[in-house]
Amino acid sequence: MDQDHRHNLWSLFTLLLNVFITGMIILSVYILLKNQIDDFIDKPKYSKEQLVEIADRSRLLRIQKRNDNWNLIENGIHVNTGLKADKNIQLIIGSCTSCHSAKLITQNRATRSGWKSMIRWMQETQGLTDLGSNETIILDYLAKHYAPKQSGRRQNLDLKEVEWYILNLDKNGG
């Protein structure tokens, strides 16, 4: 009797164990295949609100990624603006590029007084405000990095810039 009773208890235990193991197996398969199953029964993974938030977040991430590169400096050049790298470059970017492209600086050359007269011209005609103590820093930067080079009345062709190529004259009968 005692033995039968023990046998019944053991049967019940093994049954419960089997149910538990089967349940665990089904659960782990579901977890593994959740996405596929959800897709199969066409259940949306995320609520509408979650989707909007994800889109916003990924857009923000993309912009952050761009901004991480914003101050990238390669070969002494601030890549995003093309300006010569310098400890005061943020001041230059902030002061100059809110109104015009940095290209207007990088393509020009002038002496310190030449750059100063450009600042005065911008103040007199283009609405640039007084730069205060920053003006000295800006002029130092411009005079140092964008000074004129000496050249004659007509320079040689810039042969470093010329890409030599074989001219195909077949069609032109040369």
Binding site: I63, Q107, N108, L157, Y165, G174
Partner: protein, 407 residues
């Protein structure tokens, strides 16, 4: 959730500001729905209607020139035509509602025309007219002049279709005391301040009344590209292209020299009397540029061509002037020691550039430069050296040249 959204929005605005380097000054003034065309290159590298082969000198405002070897077409294609913008072009243009208003002290009345009225009321004309920026060639001046450092490509010639400015001005009525006309366009000052015009120039009344002075709505039988003044612009051949107002909304007939943006100070002016290089010139001694000088460009082949000694080099290009026509184009392969005539085409109308070509034989192998020199009907020739230095670096009409190797 909504707080978070608000935060994200703000960070986006801040990030946009960061990505252009700083805050957008006068951001509050920017009309709703207006795209800042000047910002687009930074955000998407897209210049609407323009070829990727253009050389971009400036992206705010947009300024781009055409490499010399891409100017070989008899008429410059729209996507290769240079762009010199002073402000931000307007966006979201409604052509149906676009009007051109003529007014001013010397106008007999104020009158407005829709585009449809302009097209139906006046004789439609098509002319091939050359436009060249007054600062084309600035990059060569020494001491250097400030501004966009144009090399050779701020020039192009297109077929313009529209009406004669003269016909429209006469329909309004010109008082006998008229001296000048000035234009106003729909472009926006870089600061975004609606009270400021980026540019408002014009021409003397005599120039305005020339048969070739046009109000155009079409360029090479297509809409004018947005960056070149869509949907309506002035076109004056022979004068600095800055006179040919874009996004044209208003013309004023003035009883004095027009005093709009970039008419005064040193803008589009040269010393009234010649000065030594580097001279500081007072504004009162600077005179407005009117007629542009004789000039030419070699558009074929691209500089850097290498040919064999048994081959002849074909060259071609265009020459233009504010005089009635180009009478001669010559080339030299020995730095001006000797000159040979090119074959020159006539123009269909005044201010159209004239194409030239030649076949060149080289005496021996080595490095050569092919120089071209045009002469116009006033017997004016291009200089080989830089012409008179001027503080703003205008009117460089020195000969164009290309490098050639003969092997």
């Amino acid at each position: 959730m909504s707080k978070r959204r608000e935060f994200i929005k703000k960070s986006l605005a801040a990030s946009l500001s960061l990505s252009i380097g700083s805050n957008i000054v006068f951001a509050n003034y920017i009309p709703k729905g207006l795209d800042l065309v000047g910002l687009k290159p930074l955000l998407g590298n897209q210049f609407p209607g323009k070829s990727k082969s253009m050389t971009v000198l400036n992206d705010r405002p947009i300024n781009m020139e055409t490499p010399a070897h891409l100017l070989n077409d008899a008429l410059t294609p729209n996507e290769l035509f240079f762009v010199r913008n002073n402000g931000l072009p307007p966006a979201n243009i409604n052509v149906e509602n676009w009007t051109l208003t003529i007014s001013g002290e010397s106008a007999q009345r104020t009158k407005s025309y829709t585009l449809t009225e302009l097209k139906s009321k006046f004789e439609n004309v098509s002319l091939n007219l050359t436009l060249e920026c007054g600062g084309n060639g600035r990059s060569e001046f020494n001491p250097p002049a400030k501004g966009n450092q144009w090399s050779t490509g701020a020039v192009g010639c297109a077929k313009w279709t529209g009406v004669r400015l003269k016909d429209v001005l006469e329909d309004v009525g010109i008082k006998s005391n008229a001296v000048y006309i000035g234009y106003y366009g729909a472009d926006m000052h870089l600061s975004g301040d609606p009270e400021k015009h980026p540019i408002s120039r014009g021409v003397p009344i005599d120039k305005a009344l020339e048969n070739e002075s046009m109000i155009a709505w079409s360029m090479n039988d297509q809409d004018i590209p947005m960056l070149n003044g869509y949907p309506l612009r002035l076109v004056f051949g022979g004068f600095p292209a800055s006179c040919s107002g874009k996004w044209l909304e208003k013309i004023v007939i003035r009883n004095k020299v027009h005093d709009g943006q970039k008419m005064k100070g040193s803008s589009y002016r040269v010393p009234c009397k010649p000065v030594a290089p580097g001279t500081k010139v007072d504004d009162k001694d600077m005179c407005i540029i009117e007629a542009m000088p004789v000039k030419s460009i070699i558009s074929y082949p691209k500089t850097g061509a290498t040919i064999k000694i048994n081959q002849q080099l074909p060259i071609s290009g265009h020459a233009w002037t504010s005089a009635s026509e180009i009478t001669k184009v010559e080339y030299s392969i020995d730095f001006g020691m000797s000159w040979n005539n090119c074959t020159l085409k006539d123009n269909n109308n005044r201010y159209e550039w004239q194409s030239f070509n030649a076949m060149i034989k080289f005496p021996e192998t080595g490095y050569y430069e092919v120089w071209a020199r045009a002469t116009d009907s006033n017997d004016m020739k291009q200089p080989m050296l830089l012409p008179g230095w001027n503080p703003k670096g205008y009117l460089n009409n020195a000969c164009h040249r290309i490098a050639i190797k003969v092997v």
